[in-house]
């Protein structure tokens, strides 16, 4: 089972790859939209990337609640 920090680091790589955000900026308290400037299309891609990377399924009704990096990491921890 990956640790919170391992999941955060992998997610940071994904966010960097998709949206060009520096990996060090992708911290648990950051909002994807407000702090990291990730737009809605990039967010969809990040969700798809999470599903592949972490082997989870994230339905639309859940993905809309993933506002911060911490929300996404917690979701992966709970569902993988």
């Amino acid at each position: 089972m990956a640790t919170t920090e391992e999941i955060r680091a992998q997610l940071a790589e994904l966010v960097n790859d998709v949206a060009g955000v520096p990996v060090e900026d992708v911290q648990l308290d950051k909002s994807f939209v407000d702090d990291l400037d990730v737009d809605s299309l990039a967010m969809v891609e990040i969700i798809v990337g999470c599903e592949e990377k972490f082997g989870v399924t994230i339905p639309d009704e859940d993905s809309k609640n993933l506002k911060t990096v911490g929300d996404a990491v917690a979701y992966v921890e709970a569902h993988s």
């Binding site: 969809v44 891609e45 599903e51």
Partner: protein, 331 residues
Amino acid sequence: MTGTIAASSGATFAAMLSIASAVPSRVVDNAEMCTYIDSSDEWIQQRTGIAERRWVGEGETVETLALDAARSALQRAGITGSQLSALIVSTVTYFHQTPSLAAKLAFALDSTAAAFDISAACAGFCYGLAQAESLVRSGAAEYVLVIGVEELSRFTNRHDRGTAFLFSDGAGAAVVGPSDVNGIGPVVWGSDGSQADAINQTLEWSDALDAGERPYVHMDGRAVFKWATGFISEAARKVLDAAGVQPEELDVFIPHQANNRITDAMLRSLKLPEHVVVARTIKQFGNNSAASVPMAMDSLLASGEAQSGQTALLIGFGAGLVYAGQVVTLP
């Protein structure tokens, strides 16, 4: 008494012998688009890559566009309409339910060949190409004309912020025929009818008539984007595998011009080498569904960015949801 039924047999290989397109005359830039919807040039370009799109001008229709592209394709292939064995037209914007546009075009091209329309939306050209390849190799046809044509400007709600800026008009045509070497790889295709509502017509024609309303194309952009960046990226990889072509052997990538952001995501997923030329004609043409792949191909060849004989990966995907892709040798 039991008879023996003869089986047809055809060419060992098929290839595209030509490609051509017809670009509608009316340029609609983002400034004009923003007179119909509350948006901005920056927002549209950042979200889609579209700077301008083409709509039909005075006197232009799916029929005139398709004929222009078809005549050029026949000329470039060095054959006449009377030599065609089949015409396949992919369109979702021929508003005359019957007879088919293909039959009408055949007559205009001096052909009495088999002629039929197919409904595979933005995957339509690749669907048609797959059928053409099979017809040539089975012996059911010698030369097949495949046309993708759309007039989405008549099918789009100009005031819908989710779709108005995307859709456009255009036509592309290819002649497929027998070849000494294989020029069209195995098709990878399929459908997902569970997502029929992701892109659809808002009202059936009969209901629209009763209601006195015009139907439009509706799209759940989020669902389509998710499917395209995930499932379709994977399908594109399977197309390469089916053809036995390594990413390093590829020269050109021509995805359906749905959105540059989808193309970007596919590139990240496919990890294509730097030298691969990527079609991004959406910038000047917008998303014209079945016409986008052949128009992009013709445009890349005309500009010299791609050359005849090069190896290209095609993938179309859209309403159905449906998809199809193949590796081809550029004509």
